[in-house]
Amino acid sequence: MRISFFLLAMTPVLAACEMGQTTADGPRMLARATDSAVNNTDLLSDRPMAIAIDPDGCMHWFGDDGAEGYANARYDPVTGKPICTDRIPPGAVISNPQRTGLIDILP
């Protein structure tokens, strides 16, 4: 995946423009279900999510979507209870959470 530095630098600007819009009825649109990053337009469901283990040992779906990150609990589909384990250390991430080619900076 190729991303030019220009596009990368423009991401916050473009995103800010889009989110500043108001809806027809008045309230400001704060977020919507389309990726605002410039280098892809896929829906979140199209790409795999990683698994992150929280400090209690419970699993969460975990994905870095470029300009933003997402995480939410993993549930047993039959009982709806969280899925937890003591066989993976807390804080660990399984598989690659990075889903775009955007450069990742952690200060």
Binding site: T11, A16, R28, L30, R32, I51, W61, N72, P77, T85
Partner: protein, 195 residues
């Protein structure tokens, strides 16, 4: 509004969120004793379906992202699509009536299943039909779940959860032999890890 039938909740989706926001403002403003509600903005939530079939709401806010669980408002449980369980086996095949001891050959079948599936861990759930007492069915489903979980453990599989539901979670709703037969089952959920 919150007593909506579950089917309606499913169908309503995003549009309901928009309709609700404008409907909320007017009546509340008239009642001074209640908290004043100010709609400062809107979020157009989308649905993310995870590998287990469970749904999450998500939205991209530009330089930030939001995600939360989609719940069934009636049960309070996460809303998950009906996916095939990793294994649903009739207890008529596995066990004799009223027994939690495996029929001849069934141990080998289960061992083969757990060896080939290779999931990170498993949940094993036992279910009975509605005949006999609630307490009896509860105990029988627990013993049967334990039998299957023990076979899993004997071949090195990790069973994180082992639970009996008795007659409380039927998949067929009728009160006849056809329904009962479907409801007598052991369910195995496989917790696979992403690669």
């Amino acid at each position: 509004m919150f007593r909506m039938k579950f089917g309606k909740v499913l169908a309503a989706g995003l549009t309901a969120a928009f309709a609700a926001s404008s409907a909320l403002v007017a009546p509340v403003a008239a009642q001074q004793s209640q908290d004043r509600i100010v709609v400062s903005g809107m979020v157009e939530w989308g649905i993310f379906v995870d590998r287990d079939g469970c749904m999450h709401w998500w939205a991209d806010g530009g330089l930030e992202g939001y995600m939360t669980t989609r719940f069934n408002p009636e049960t309070g449980r996460p809303l998950c699509l009906q996916k095939e369980s990793c294994l649903t086996e009739s207890t008529d095949t596995l066990f004799h009536t009223d027994s939690h001891h495996l029929k001849p050959g069934q141990r080998e079948v289960l061992e083969r299943f757990f060896r080939s599936e290779g999931a990170f861990s498993y949940a094993v759930y036992g279910h009975t039909d509605e005949r006999a007492s609630h307490a009896y069915n509860q105990a029988l489903s627990e013993r049967r779940a334990n039998t299957v979980a023990s076979v899993a453990r004997s071949v090195g599989a990790f069973v994180e959860v082992e639970e009996g539901f008795g007659e409380t979670r039927p998949i067929a709703t009728g009160h006849n032999e056809t329904a009962w037969q479907q409801n007598r089952r052991v369910e195995v959920v496989c917790y696979h890890m992403p690669r």
